[in-house]
Every structure is written in structure tokens, then in C-alpha cells.
Amino acid sequence: MKALVWHGKQDIRYETMPDPEIEDGRDAIIKVTSCAICGSDLHLFHNFMPGMKPGDIVGHETMGEVVDVGKGNKALKVGDRIVVPFTIWCGECHQCKRGNYSVCERSNRNAKLAELAFGHTTAGLFGYTHLTGGYPGGQAEYLRVPMADTTHIKVPDHFTDEQALFLSDILPTGWQAAVWCDIEPEDTVAIWGAGPVGQMAIRSAVLLGAKQVIAIDFLPERLSMAAAAGAITINPGEESVKDRLNELTDNMGPDKCIDAVGMESHSQILPEHLYDRTKQSLMMETDRPHVLREMMLMCRPGGVLAVAGVYGGVLDKIPFGALMNKGLTLRTGQTHVNRWTDELIELIDEGALDPSFVITHTEPLANGPQMYPTFESRKDNCIKVVLKPGQEAA
């Protein structure tokens, strides 16, 4: 089969790989009909996440049709149409029983590695470093889904791929971040990053009833998409985030803050940016935590910071004093995808939400190697790329 394969920094190739096979009774194999490139894939593209090996198949936002099922898998049958959540979960361990699927204790086959890095293992993830199991990803013609009897989302037949695909990751990620905020009707929710995750967080905050939603990003086209859902926008390249936030909140600061940027944030403060960038290049700091710092300083005392953006390792110069003394609550995590599935399917089904709005580019899978730089450089007004294995490259 053909797949997108990681070979190093900024080197993604469209290559022929062996077809996946059933390895365990709970497995299923799907023929991929649609998959997408995620902001998290950019961290791999930039080689900022440790634990990738040349030859790894990337991709973790995938859906398709079941073509083979393991003997022990009673939940799926050939022909089922499923979305694959990016977190692999067993359904049996202590964490899965509590709905904490992204920290499933059994799905990471490299648990020892993860324990070294994080103290404990976290769930296995598709196409995302050997720290999280090194499972082949879904930007491919076929995908083996381990623990597929739990690790799947059956979608109603009348949903299009475009409506269903993002149940795999960015939609529940934006939703989880907003839920983590415990939004109340009087709340102002400020969201850093108007990429696909930020866009989903904006819609989620609106549906959960925030009075005022503020979106912060440098890219005008992304801000226009944020404004489409009623968000007030701030462009840090043109105005002071601090001044604008204070102006919009009677100098109180936003009640809730969401980080939808993660480890590669840009800073307008040049010395800060150079400091983090240099340390990151020299591998003395793995992440550039500008947004985290800004949220801690801006958030109203007693507020909540929900971190959806991905971080990889050690961070520097965090104003922890502000976090502690202001009594802020910090909530994070890879998304417990399946935990939010039912309510999100309901919202789509009721016509209250249509996640396909975020797609700006649809291309054959074979064009993946060009679409990574297009998404990376934010050129061509690119916000979200969907790849179709079935389509012929032009």
C-alpha cells in the first residue's frame, strides 16, 4: 500500500509500505477513505517531538471502511464505516474505566520508554513517536487499528466523511478544552491559536454558553474564520494582547483561557522569542512556552487554563508564582476522544455543529508531501488539509 512516511526533519515521503495485517484478535483493518494533517503532525515534521524513527508512517486523523476483523472482535464487522480515535484504549484498565482514555495503561506497547520520559505510561497513539507505542499512522491506504473493539467510532450513515472525520481528534480536542473550562454564562473565554483546534474550541465555547469568546492569532484568514463563529479577534502582530484583553474584560482578564497553540508558539517580544528559539535549537529546552506564560499572566484570578496545545518536554521561565498566587486551575491532556463522542455526534446530527467548515484543502494522498509544507508555512490560506487515498494525483 501507499503511505506518508517520516524520514527526518521536514522530510515526509509518499512511499510503498507493506499492507497491515491482523496481529491480534481485537484488531481491525480499515481501508482509509479520508485522513487529515494535524497541527501535531507539524511538531513531528519539525522534528521537535523526540522518539520518531525514519520509516514511521504518520497520521492520526483517519476514517474508513472495515475490511478485516480479528477473531476476538465482536464489536465490528467487515463493511462497517468507522472513524478512528487517535488515542488507542483498552477499555479495561483503571484509567479507561474512568474515561481517561488518553492515559490508558495498556495500549502503549513501549510503556517502559514512556515511563522514562513521563514517569508513567500514557496511551498508545497512531503515527506519533515510539514514546506512544510507535503504531503506524493513518495517512495511508490501509490502517491496522489495535484494540479496535473499543478504539473506534461508528458514524451515522448520513454523515459525510467531512462531517465525521474530525471526531477522531480536533473536534473532541477543542470540545475537551472548553469543557475543562467549566464555562458559565457570564464567562469570557480567551483562546490562543486559531488553527483547527482553536476553531473547534471557539465553536465549543459558544455551544457551552460563553458570553464572550476571544480568539488570538497572527493570521488574518484564521481570524476571519474565528469571527465567523462570533469570536472577537486579536492579532498580536498588530495590537497588544494584554491591552485588548483588559479592554474587553473591564481590566479583569478573561475568566478562562485555552492554549490551542502548543510547543511552537511565536512571541512578539523579540528577546523572549530568540531566547526560546535558541534554546530549542540547541536542545536545551524542548518547547517554546510563550502562550503558557501569557495565559498565566492574563487570566483572571481564580480562573482556569485549559491546555490543548501539545508540549513535549521541559519548559523554561514559567511564571508559576502567578499561577499559584492567583489560584489558577491548570487542566491539560491529550484528548480522551471517545469520552466526548456521543454528545458531539448528537450535536452534528441535530444540525447544531458542522465541523467540515474548517477544511480549506482536499487533495489526493499522493500529494501529501507537498501539503505538509503548504500547511506548515500557512501559505495558500491553508487551515486544514484532508487527504484522499482513493483519488488519483493530478
Partner: protein, 212 residues
């Protein structure tokens, strides 16, 4: 589109060129720092060893930038640095030593060539990932088919109206779910607000229509 590294790689010929420049700069920078005397002798700049060492530091700095994921600023800085080199080696044309004089002229040519190459590579990097058209207007993409105002609090109202939620005190649920991650995780999903303190069991594994 430029030629590709492999047959189907995201790395283009321009990326290869830039990596070449970065590695060359690294080598040159190290050489300038380790044996500046070779350069001063070659170009008739005796006594300016410390200047050459400083250039070495500059060269290494620009190499790190050139090899990073966003090489364009470093490439422009390199082009400017090349002009500094040009002016410096030009001093050697006043040397009485014919060989040094000749080297200085060669050096001028080389520095001008590198400046052009670095500027060219910088423009190539500007085109990376395609052209930048004017920002698109996506203000018709709300994703909220009922309209923004009708959607505000839609899910919240649904919870409040739903039969299971009718007697439920949301504040209690929220207080319960606030606190620590562990608490909130036990309180279950946002979509299951009917759970109260008496209901601190494992939340149901999503079942039914969505997941079987």
C-alpha cells in the same frame, strides 16, 4: 515545482541547497575560529585575527539559523554578512604582496557570489509551501448552522432541559468536577451531567449509537 530529494519527498531541491549552505557555513565558521591566521595570511589581513574569529562566531550563528526549520531570516542575514566579508577582504587589495592581492580579488568575487547565492536561497525559501495570496475571507464558515446567537449556550440549554438533568444542580456538578483532574474524571463526561456525588462510579464506557 523544484526537483525533489527523493522521488516523492516533501524536501525540495531548494531545501537541499539551503542545507548545503548551512553545512558549509558551519565548516567555514569553525575554520575561522580555530585558525584565523590562515585567512589573514591569505588575504593580507595580518593583525586582524580577532576580527576573523568574530566572523567565525557570526558564521556559526547563521549556520544554526540556516539549518533550522525557518532558514529565511538567517539566509538574509548571511547575505548581509557576505557583504561584510567582501569589504574586509577588499582591504587586502592594497597589499604589496602580489599573491595576497590576487587572493583578495578572488575573495571579493567569492563573497559577492555567496551574497547572491544566499539572497537567492532566501527568496526560494520565501516561496516554500506555495505563494502567499492575500488573506482569504472565511467569514462565511461559521460551522454553526443554526447561527451564532441561536448556538450560544445550545448545549447548555439542552442539558438543562433534558429530563435527566431537570433536578440536577449544575453548580454542584461543576463544583464537583472543578478541583482536581481525578475528581473531574470521576464525575464523568460533560454529556453526562446527571451524575452526582452519589454516582461516583466509573462513568459508562461510551456506548449506544456511537460506539458499540
Amino acid at each position: 515545482m523544484a526537483w525533489k530529494y527523493g522521488s516523492d519527498s516533501s524536501l525540495t531541491g531548494s531545501d537541499a541547497l539551503v542545507r548545503g549552505i548551512g553545512l558549509f557555513a558551519l565548516g567555514l565558521g569553525v575554520a575561522e575560529m580555530v585558525s584565523p591566521g590562515r585567512f589573514t595570511k591569505m588575504f593580507g589581513l595580518e593583525g586582524k585575527e580577532n576580527l576573523i574569529r568574530a566572523y567565525g562566531v557570526r558564521e556559526i550563528g547563521s549556520a544554526i539559523g540556516t539549518l533550522s526549520i525557518n532558514p529565511q531570516p538567517a539566509l538574509w542575514a548571511r547575505a548581509a554578512g557576505d557583504m561584510m566579508d567582501l569589504v574586509t577582504v577588499a582591504l587586502g587589495t592594497r597589499s604589496d604582496n602580489q599573491e595576497q592581492k590576487r587572493n583578495a580579488w578572488i575573495g571579493i568575487g567569492a563573497a559577492a557570489g555567496f551574497a547572491a547565492l544566499d539572497a537567492f536561497a532566501a527568496t526560494l525559501m520565501g516561496k516554500r509551501g506555495g505563494e502567499r495570496p492575500p488573506p482569504a475571507d472565511y467569514s462565511d464558515r461559521s460551522g454553526l448552522p443554526k447561527g451564532v446567537e441561536a448556538s450560544r449556550g445550545y448545549y447548555r440549554q439542552k442539558r438543562e432541559k433534558g429530563p435527566a438533568v431537570a433536578t440536577h444542580d449544575m453548580r454542584k456538578d461543576r463544583m464537583h468536577s472543578g478541583g482536581t483532574q481525578a475528581d473531574s474524571d470521576r464525575s464523568g463526561r460533560a454529556g453526562n451531567p446527571a451524575q452526582t456525588e452519589t454516582d461516583i462510579g466509573p462513568p459508562p464506557i461510551p456506548a449506544g449509537t456511537a460506539v458499540s
